[in-house]
């Protein structure tokens, strides 16, 4: 009742205005993303980083050099357009013939590098971005809107309109559309598709940079960490508006802003991102072509099978495997606790990567929400054992909880394909983290879970550095062995059949949802125990312990090793966990090298080190 009355008495106008203001920012972000998706069929994760580059070029011109705003805008557009084109040339073009996932990961690597360069050049502290913009404000409802609010909105609309005109009214625009539809055919008709792609990335980059400048002016604050969140909101907006629909992106951004704002009005700000990601998921499931699409035509699905690069997997000779296992077992004897701890961490990553390589590689559902499974396992075990349950039981229940809840959550996403699975699982990962944050009665909300009992099995303490190392190693090898057995059974063949061609598999009487569920269940169990063990090792976890970056990291490991490849996942985990440790002496430059390593690996060995299985 109280809810109903607040629904009626709510100052809708004020909330709508604030929704439209933030919505225009999302729209501005979304226009560039939609443009790139339309041409390259790719979500450009580096778009957020270009946004940050624009903001800092703006700062350099306005504050550092004292240039007028007009000159600044031109400089920002030129530099960030150049950065956009450079991304296409360096990271996208060479991957033209690779699997779909390769360029997506390359953009993540580029984003890491760009963000880190900004960190190094400008320091990570937020800075003010003051400018001489008129400071008149118009009263609307009980609030006000100012010149910059209107500028942002107008820029979004004008740029979308200009792009639309460009795409549908000019000859170069036709070339762009032709390239998007079929680049081979376009090439045959004499279109220089490389130039077209580069132009599009340049335009999108310029728009992203200007968005960064305007948003920085709006908040009078720029910081190098804002980019990823902004990119995600832009992504939600294009899903709402239709992935490649440029004018739709404006609508998508505004709708997202309005829904967030109304949701905050009704439930509070902690739920903001929850609304955004639930909306994303609902759209993917029911209107995958966006809210503005006519009819319900199905999204093109050319990606089944091609989403994972196919190669012949390298099988490690058996004696080598035994030697490696032997080395791993005696490693703690070297009495180097630091190395032992780093390797324990690597094996925990390895467990999570095993799970991911099964669903993403073997079954072909590329997931960017893997942290959710790990988090469910961690929380289940942490909450139960702090209430008195023995740790060994907690770990098993953690695995089971992740298997059950994870499969149930992912079930609706089983019908999605290709990129949509990646985006959908990303949303699921965020939703799980936000539920953990907001469900205070059960999860302790923002406070996290403290004083989680240390690792032990039936009263045998395992929290010593060496003991926990051997325990985690045994768990990882056990689960890896089990997974290898499963892959060799009929299950493994069925999973691969579903990945290669779901329709054909269904025709043969394979119930694909059932087998996808089995894969998710097994993977959820593995990931869940990885989370549970981590929780007992840290003694403290909170909603942010397993976040989106963690998901991206695990995916990087699986891809690095070769999607679907069991020993590859372990190798990938060890490399990714150990590389940053090796780069530790490089301090600030560490993430830069890490991003570069990612880009180079994808460029030269997209099928992973050991080949995909």
């Amino acid at each position: 009742m109280e809810f109903l009355s607040s629904l009626i008495s709510m100052p809708w106008l004020d909330y709508s205005i604030s929704g439209l203001v933030i919505g225009s920012i999302y729209a501005l972000m979304a226009v560039g993303l939609a443009l790139i998706f339309g041409v390259a069929n790719l979500i450009n994760f580096a778009h957020g980083a270009v946004f940050t580059v624009g903001a800092y070029i703006g700062w350099t011109c306005l504050v550092g050099l004292g240039l007028p705003l007009g000159v600044t805008i031109v400089a920002v557009a030129a530099v960030s357009g150049g950065v956009g084109a450079l991304i296409e040339w360096l990271a996208i073009r060479p991957l033209n013939r690779q699997s779909r996932i390769a360029p997506l990961l390359a953009t993540i690597g580029v984003a890491l590098m760009l963000d880190q360069i900004i960190h190094i050049v400008f320091s990570p502290t937020p800075r003010a971005l003051p400018a001489n913009i008129p400071d008149w404000r118009i009263a609307v409802g009980n609030g006000t809107i100012g010149a910059i609010d209107i500028t942002i909105f107008a820029t979004a609309v004008i740029s979308a309109a200009a792009l639309y005109a460009f795409l549908f009214r000019t000859k170069l625009g036709m070339a762009v559309r032709a390239t998007a539809q079929d680049d081979d055919a376009a090439k045959q008709m004499g279109v220089n598709i490389n130039a077209v792609n580069m132009t599009v990335f340049g335009i999108a980059g310029a728009l992203g940079g200007i968005a960064g400048l305007l948003v920085g002016l709006y908040y009078n604050s720029i910081d190098p960490n804002a980019s990823f969140q902004m990119m995600l909101k832009g992504m939600v907006a294009i899903v709402i508006g239709g992935m490649a629909n440029v004018p739709g992106a404006i609508g998508g951004g505004l709708i997202l802003g309005l829904i967030e704002s109304w949701g905050i009005g009704l439930f509070g700000a902690s739920y903001r991102n929850l609304f955004a990601f639930v909306l994303l998921l609902v759209m993917l499931l029911f209107r995958p072509n966006g809210i503005f699409a006519r009819g319900k035509e199905r999204a093109a699905e050319p990606m089944t099978g091609t989403f994972v690069t196919q190669t012949k997997a390298i099988t490690l000779p058996r004696p080598l495997i035994w030697v490696l296992i032997g080395v791993a077992v005696i490693l703690p004897m070297a009495n180097m606790p630091y190395i032992t701890q780093v390797m324990t961490n690597a094996y925990l990553y390895g467990l999570a990567a095993l799970a991911l390589t099964l669903v993403s590689g073997t079954v072909g559902l590329v997931s960017i929400g893997h942290a959710a499974l790990v988090a469910i396992g961690a929380y289940a075990s942490a909450l139960l054992t702090t209430k008195g349950l023995p740790v060994s039981l907690g770990i098993v229940i953690g695995g089971a909880a992740a298997a059950l809840i994870g499969t149930a959550l992912a079930y609706p996403a089983f019908r999605l394909r290709g990129h949509y699975v990646a985006i959908g699982t990303l949303a699921l990962g965020e939703i799980v983290a936000l539920v953990i944050l907001n469900w205070e009665g059960v999860t302790n909300g923002a406070l996290g879970v403290f004083a989680i009992p240390p690792l032990e099995i039936f009263g045998l303490p395992l929290y010593g550095t060496k003991a926990s190392y051997w325990f985690v190693l045994a768990l990882m090898l056990g689960m890896a062995g089990l997974q290898v057995r499963l892959l060799k059974s009929h299950l493994g063949r069925t999973w691969k059949a579903i990945r290669e061609d779901t329709v054909a598999a269904e025709t043969y009487g394979v119930s694909s949802n059932y087998y996808k569920g089995l894969a998710f269940g097994f993977a959820g169990f593995t990931a869940g125990i990885a989370g549970a063990v981590t929780a007992h090792q840290w003694s403290f976890i909170n909603y942010d312990s397993f976040n989106l970056l963690f998901s991206v990291l695990i995916l990087t490991m699986a891809i690095l090793g070769g999607l679907g490849n069991v020993s590859g996942a372990i190798l990938g985990a060890i490399l990714v966990a150990a590389l940053p440790e090796m780069f530790r002496t490089l301090a600030e430059y560490r993430m830069l090298f890490y991003g570069a390593a990612l880009v180079i690996l994808i460029r030269f060995r997209p099928q992973g080190l050991l080949g995909s299985g």
């Binding site: 604030s18 009078n220 804002a226 905050i264 700000a269 923002a446 406070l447 090792q537 403290f540 940053p580």
Partner: protein, 388 residues
């Protein structure tokens, strides 16, 4: 992103100087030279990643502290140095770093990490390994509870929030308070403690709105807050989000008094918030205008070395090293000696507190006091009730 924060701990500095330095200068030539094997403090903190800015602020504070400590003869003649391991504020990395420090006999004490998640993940290791973990940004109430090797000069919210409530209710006379809080362990705990203290003093909490750490847009949330008709607003925020909120609040036409935790006490807050910062109240342990010699020396030294005003994370780092140095000078550089020394030492003066001593039970600073501050003409000035 569960950064925990601690009140502006700006003040540290001089304690060791006074005790140690006066003694040393008496005994040694005027420009004390250090020699021999350095004494190492291990620092675990973010140099890259989302919280890299805080690690950068720490380094400024540490380096300034070392200039002073080593200029005064180091630790009884041995130079004090530190080894900074980048943890990215990530618990996976803090536990690995903990193993590294514990195994390295050079390291006599550890400082950091930044957030509760990452610091407390490593606490059981430091406790078992017998190495002091000095968490100078860890105001999380549970931080020092893992064991007797966890110490902090950061004031837990249970001590500081009642001081804010007292200022809001009894000094500013607020009756209906709206609270905006960062929805992390730090912000949530602060909000709860503030609310219960304020209600005890007779005020009403008419709204309490949480927000996520990476949020930039607060307009919708502020509409909610406005409709609760508060006569004053309390911000449990850091300086960057605090500045955004204050700007958007004034843009929405809300003009009631604003009080914010001491973590907004940073020159960057003034710059980011612009004109909207005018009239915002806060209170701090360190006030740069303070005539105390430790504060003057810290601020002047910082301005000379870096050409900018220090903020409270600089002072936290500076104080942390000076406290550890004072303990080492007096009680020795053994790991055990440092742990015991922290419980025994008293009367160190610092930038943040007039005198520092630790309660050996809670391993927190005893009896801190705050200075009320208001932003006036674009600067933080000490508030006196007569100003009105």
């Amino acid at each position: 992103m569960t950064t925990k924060r601690s009140l502006p701990t700006f003040t540290r500095r001089g304690f060791g100087a006074l005790a140690g330095a006066t003694m040393l200068t008496a005994a040694l030539p005027a420009f004390a030279q250090t020699s021999g094997e350095p004494v190492y403090i291990g620092v675990s903190g973010p140099k890259t990643g989302l919280h890299a800015q805080y690690g950068a602020l720490w380094v400024q504070g540490f380096d300034l502290a070392l200039d002073k400590i080593n200029g005064e003869g180091g630790i009884n003649g041995r130079p004090l140095e530190y080894i900074f391991e980048d943890s990215q504020n990530d618990p996976r990395q803090t536990i690995a770093i903990a193993q590294k420090f514990i195994a390295d006999p050079k390291i006599v004490a550890e400082a950091g990490d930044f957030s509760s998640t990452s610091s407390m993940a490593a606490s059981p290791l430091y406790q078992r390994g017998g190495l002091v973990q000095f968490g100078f940004t860890n105001s999380h109430p549970d931080f020092t509870k893992t064991g007797d090797y966890m110490w902090s000069n950061s004031i837990p919210q249970s001590q500081e929030q009642p001081l804010y409530a007292d200022f809001a209710v009894n000094t500013l006379g607020l009756k209906k308070i709206g609270v905006m809080y960062l929805n992390t362990d730090w912000g949530k705990t602060s909000k709860d403690l503030f609310a219960s203290a304020a209600e005890e003093m007779g005020a009403e909490i008419v709204a309490a709105e949480g927000y996520l750490a990476d949020e930039k847009d607060f307009r919708a949330t502020l509409v909610r807050l406005r409709d609760a008709a508060p006569d004053g607003i309390m911000l449990e925020s850091y300086y960057s989000d605090g500045a955004l909120i204050v700007r958007q609040l004034r843009d929405l036409g809300i003009d009631v008094p604003i009080l914010a935790t001491g973590s907004i006490y940073s020159p960057d807050f003034l710059e980011l918030a612009g004109d909207a910062a005018e009239g915002v109240f806060t209170s701090v342990y360190y006030a740069p205008q303070s005539p105390r010699p430790e504060v003057v020396e810290f601020r002047q030294g910082f301005l000379d070395k870096y050409g900018e005003e220090p903020n409270h994370f600089n002072a936290l780092a500076y104080d942390a090293f000076n406290i550890l140095a004072a303990v080492m000078r007096e009680y020795g550089t053994g790991r055990e000696e440092i742990k015991d020394g922290l419980g025994k030492i008293s009367g160190i003066s610092s930038v943040l507190f007039e005198t520092v001593s630790f309660d050996p039970e809670t391993r927190r600073v005893s009896g801190p006091e705050v200075t009320p501050i208001v932003v006036k003409d674009g600067a933080f000035t000490i508030y006196t009730p007569e100003q009105g």
